[in-house]
Symmetry: C2
Subunit: 227 residues, 2 copies
Amino acid sequence: LSEPSKVSAATLRRIHEAIRVTGFVPNALAGALASQRSMLVSALVPSISNIVYASMIASFNERMRARGYQILLSETGFDPGDEEAFIATHLSRRPDAVLLTGIHHSAQARRMLLAVDIPVVEVWDISTTPIDICVGFSHVEAGRAAADFAVEAGYRRAACVSAGDERARRRQQAFSERFEERSGHVVSAAAFNEPASLANGRSGLSRLLEEQGFEGGVVFCSADLLA
Amino acid sequence: LSEPSKVSAATLRRIHEAIRVTGFVPNALAGALASQRSMLVSALVPSISNIVYASMIASFNERMRARGYQILLSETGFDPGDEEAFIATHLSRRPDAVLLTGIHHSAQARRMLLAVDIPVVEVWDISTTPIDICVGFSHVEAGRAAADFAVEAGYRRAACVSAGDERARRRQQAFSERFEERSGHVVSAAAFNEPASLANGRSGLSRLLEEQGFEGGVVFCSADLLA
């Protein structure tokens, strides 16, 4: 099969027919070991069912597939310690590249990623010290821009509903600082130690309204799901 | 590393320290070839960004991970021909099990899956002739139950907005037949040849209202996204 020129056309035809009928599939593990290319790309995201990561993975998958790669996907949650364990198992499969969410990884995870000679892409944040390649945006600038927008739209009071992950916290903090600086008013906050969900959004809003007496202002949510 | 009892405790400690510092990760491809177990489970779903499949994959991933398996995920679309190509690449990685969406697979896909001696689970439908294991529900009965519910709630007129996949069509057809049978009214329909989306839902409803003059009844949608 790897050197079809060595057999006659008729024999080759019979071989292919036998393969078709029996449903034989070549072993890609052996091929990957021999060629040092697995045609696998690892993708690690905090949450598969969150639409922002799911949409990213759907596009990423489509582009990679068009180039013959398959995606080995893991849902890591938001803890760098959990992520480290996933990175180790992913690298043990010898992927041809790795996609990581965020820039905060454990020291051991960074060491493992630096030791493999493959492209490592960090997305969803920006960094001056990427492991390899980083494509993303600034969460601090995003929070500040939202605060500027709210102040310029005439809002004098603001509150935040925020999920428990590190990026959400940075956006929320940047929003609050900038809004307080420009409006002179303290920003109320309802923060959760869990990922964003519709239920957290509802309970965050009712905390603001009922417990903190928030009214007549703008509410900054750390994610679509909360809003 | 595979026989730690052959070296002294001090040597083993030095080896482990060297591994930690250099970020060395063992090669799982070689291990999988030798042991005939890849600890990979293949999951094939039509769409990753559709919340019904994303939620299923999130739970499936969590359960499999708790048992030490990693998920090799592919988005197949709704065409059995495309699915066949994915099944071949997945099987070439020697997964320990396969999860498939739906019961309609190409003849060659069935042959390949029957030839491998691993669990194959079909979900999201039911069949009297599963490849191996089938866990799902009846789309025809679901459509009929919705029609019964609508008739019993007093609706005399009904319309359908339906996506282009085969399961959606079966639900819609079962709904229409049962509703027509029990109400004596013809069910209007806006059907798309694409997957369900919010945009299709909006345009389906406006087709029903503006072009077909539908009013005063119940609208059956083939998916949450359309509704």
